[in-house]
Symmetry: C2
Subunit: 314 residues, 2 copies
């Protein structure tokens, strides 16, 4: 797929001076458990606290090069944070739509980075995004989806996949959190893609499992309570198509397994991860997981609130 | 001091393929507070969880090159962990003496890395170290001090100082935890040394402040209860001499300020740090701190027990 590789090339060139090349750390504990050499990709140490800065920076720059003078997105989470940061670097105004049930601390954080924040009349993500898309269409502002956009797939999944392949050329299996499918889809579309991928979700919002069962992407889902808010909601068309073609093992994990995953990562490797990252650790600890050869668990972010962390540590 | 620079050269060459170049992260919150541009040196993200791997690897390799077939040290903390890891890489037997009051989990961790662990009949560090030195003298095994050894100063402080100078050439002020003085002393002896250094200690074990008052290094102190166990005990002669010549501002912080420092770092930058790191954050938040120009707070490690973390988060 030379077109997608060319996008990744452009994204890598743009990102190199700005983002961190995050470490690949061996995990003796997971290696024993899985029976293969296992690593953690420490993307939780990325600037802004998650991988989302990769796609946000790339998409923003591409839109700017096409003449956009403002950009918009819908996200109160890591993508919103990434886009607000990218916009502050590029000195481009950003408008960020957030669900009505947003944590006020996150609104302050986004405003502190200079973004304009619009709070939705709807509580959940999918309704908010639909409303936001109507608004920006009316105002003529380009909208950067958090997950269903080829620039986001190339920036997030494409660049990280190449980075991992350079760090560990013999990589065979990836264990990765899946929400909207932008990260995992971008990885699978890349020429550096792994032979095998384990897609991990929260059981509270199993869009990928439902989509594979239905044979079509479930793009909208009702809002639910889950610690892994970053993985909540429907799956994107682009990501789903890439995942469907690949045929990953899908593992859904419970809220209690997510809490265990956060504690395990702190206690065993001493890194802070957010619940949406911990789903991959939780899946790696399931007896039914199927891995082959050198295996990497992708830790996607560390943006966890102190109250949530306190609750998890108990 | 060309001899010390030559040592740092050798250490850098040895360490480059093994350790991480840890990031330098801007801190908007500390910049506002201090009134100067402020950064965090994220050495808490180093392999083995602290900077101690730098000196341990270098000292071990130098001793091995001089014909040693076993090495010994006294430390149940980060230096012991660093040396055990270095010895496992170099496939050289290591004997690690630990105080009688050691946490059994730490003994298991050291043994798991292949080290021989000898538990002291003495509870505290300084008595244990004196006993350990007698033992190894009898057995003819070279002893690597955790802090009072020029190889450790060059490996720990010397290499990190050069790395920070490359990352931030305009660096003027360093805020750094001081215990035995191996880190701060090595930084000050380096040609890359900062113009100004703020030495931070736990009030529970103020060896540097006492030594400056006495005009001579207080090399042994009674064992005390402190969260910052890595900074407990006397100061080394080499480190003290370098600090005395420089004339740093010395700030001693309380246990409650240390807890606040751990919480601040988690909440503001989302990194896990151990209490012995958090003293530097605590000092940076004191109104009497004197900084000038671009300022760096050195976060030295992340090895904190889950029970301690739980207690701090409350």
């Amino acid at each position: 797929m030379p077109y997608f590789e060319a996008l990744i090339d452009r994204a890598e060139t743009l990102l190199a001076p700005v983002i961190r090349e995050t470490p690949m750390e061996p995990s003796p504990a997971l290696s024993r458990q899985l029976g293969v050499p296992a690593w953690l990709k420490l993307e939780c140490l990325q600037i802004t606290g998650s991988f989302k800065i990769r796609g946000a920076l790339f998409a923003l720059q591409e839109l700017r090069d096409s003449g956009a003078s403002t950009v918009a997105t819908c996200s109160a989470g890591n993508h919103g944070l990434g886009l607000a940061y990218a916009a502050s670097l590029a000195k481009l105004p950003a408008r960020i739509y957030v669900p009505g049930q947003v944590d006020p601390a996150k609104v302050d954080l986004l405003k502190g980075m200079g973004a304009e924040v619009r709070i939705s009349p709807h509580a959940g993500f999918d309704e908010t995004e639909a409303w936001a898309k109507d608004e920006v269409r009316r105002d003529g502002i380009p909208f950067i989806s958090a997950y269903d956009d080829e620039l986001i797939l190339a920036g997030n999944g494409g660049t990280m996949m190449r980075e991992m392949r350079r760090q560990l050329p013999e990589l065979e299996t990836l264990i990765v959190p899946v929400g909207g499918g932008g990260l995992s889809g971008g990885m699978l579309l890349s020429a550096a893609a792994p032979r095998r991928l384990v897609a991990t979700q929260t059981q509270a919002s199993p869009a990928l499992a439902l989509s594979l069962k239905n044979g079509a992407a479930v793009t909208r889902m009702d809002s639910v309570e889950t610690l892994a808010g970053g993985l909540e909601g429907g799956i994107g068309l682009l990501g789903f198509e890439a995942l469907r073609k690949h045929g990953p093992q899908v593992i859904g994990v419970s809220e209690e397994e997510i809490r265990d995953g956060v504690r395990w990562t702190l206690a065993t490797h001493r890194y802070l991860v957010e619940p949406s990252s911990a789903v991959a650790i939780a899946a790696a600890r399931r007896p039914e997981i199927k891995v082959g050869g050198p295996t990497v668990v992708v830790l996607t972010g560390r943006n966890i609130g102190m109250d949530v962390l306190r609750g998890i540590l108990g």
